[in-house]
């Protein structure tokens, strides 16, 4: 890539640099946004599995509550995804 810079035909355009930085920012943004919900969903489902193992009769209620918890934590990851889309495509 450095040889590209040394080439006299390549001009550095400020707009393209901004676009590149925007793409990098979008990628880092979504990557950081996905860490928390990933761990969170792992905790929710892990505890749900423990609960279902301790008391199999309550499995239905635990499963429903687990889905509710997953939807809450996944919403945060998806907000990050929406920000990524907004930065990358507008």
């Amino acid at each position: 890539m450095l040889s590209l810079l040394a080439d006299s035909n390549v001009t550095i355009n400020a707009q393209e640099i901004l676009k590149g930085l925007g793409a990098v920012g979008a990628g880092i943004g979504y990557g950081a946004a996905a860490v928390g919900p990933g761990i969170g969903i792992g905790i929710v489902v892990g505890n749900a599995i423990t609960a279902m193992a301790r008391q199999p009769e309550a499995a239905g209620m635990v499963r429903t509550t687990m889905f509710l918890g997953i939807a809450f934590t996944e919403a945060l990851a998806l907000i990050g995804f929406v920000v990524f889309i907004l930065l990358k495509f507008t």
Partner: protein, 259 residues
């Protein structure tokens, strides 16, 4: 690389914005998204209308499906969140659940393959509608000031912390709830749609590539596409269920007398 010259991902506008069919250019433009929503409304209405036309005590045929849906919403959603006095909300929640479910299912139906909730129109309107409803129920139950107090001042908080707790609770209960309700539905559907398009474009590009050694590799994204279609079915049902049960939870929280 010239190997992947045709691997061009379409701009996102091509995936979510559709040409107008009627009333082009006006705010009431009719395009694919609007048509999908109309068909969803017609399907849900037809289901419950035909089920109730010759209603028998022992259900058969379509009535079975309608009764199963109503049973599911009543036992799985209303009784779990709002208890007995929430049963009057059954028609509303069944309508919301059915409409969102059918709108989402259109993502995996061939030749349509676009979820109407991948556009922010209904998620935003649905969240606004739920916000108006749970606030109205709360104000009816507690009175305006009483409702604000019950929502922003949790019990057992020392007076000194109230300065911080009240704005946080206000933000969380009145602003973040409708916002997250809308964004959860919208982003889930949009992300699912983008995933399916990505793998479809990838497998088509590999299959029609110039270099022959690339063609058999297209089996891998095609298999992923099939798996993701099944996953999208799960997400469609799950998101409809989550929206409905959160509506129930918010109405129950607004009318509860714990504090």
């Amino acid at each position: 690389m010239h190997l992947f010259a045709s691997l061009v991902f379409p701009p996102i506008g091509h995936l979510t914005q559709w040409k107008g069919i009627l009333f082009k250019g006006t705010p009431i433009e009719v395009n694919k998204t609007v048509l999908i929503m109309w068909v969803s409304v017609a399907l849900v209405f037809w289901l419950f209308y035909t089920a109730s036309r010759r209603a028998s005590l022992v259900p058969t045929g379509v009535q079975n499906l309608a009764e199963a849906a109503i049973d599911f919403v009543q036992n799985g959603i209303i009784l779990q969140t709002m208890g007995e006095e929430g049963l009057s909300f059954t028609p509303f929640l069944v309508a919301v659940f059915g409409f969102i479910l059918v709108c989402n299912i259109f993502e995996i139906i061939p030749f349509v393959q676009f979820p109407a909730n991948a556009r922010m129109a209904f998620p935003m309107f649905g969240a606004l509608m739920v916000w108006v409803i749970y606030n109205t129920m709360g104000i009816k139950e507690h009175g305006f000031v009483g409702y604000l107090k019950s929502q922003t001042v949790p019990s057992g908080v020392p007076k000194a912390l109230l300065l911080i707790v009240i704005p946080i609770e206000f933000l969380s209960n009145f602003i973040l709830r409708p916002f997250s309700l809308a964004v959860r539905l919208f982003a889930n559907e949009l992300a699912g749609h983008l995933l399916l398009v990505t793998f479809a474009v990838l497998s088509t590009t590999l299959l029609t590539a110039h270099a022959v050694f690339l063609k058999p590799i297209s089996v891998l994204p095609a298999a992923m596409l099939v798996a993701l279609t099944g996953f999208e079915l799960l997400v469609a049902v799950l998101q409809a269920f989550i929206f409905t049960i959160l509506t129930g939870v918010y109405i129950a929280a607004a009318t509860s007398h714990e504090h």
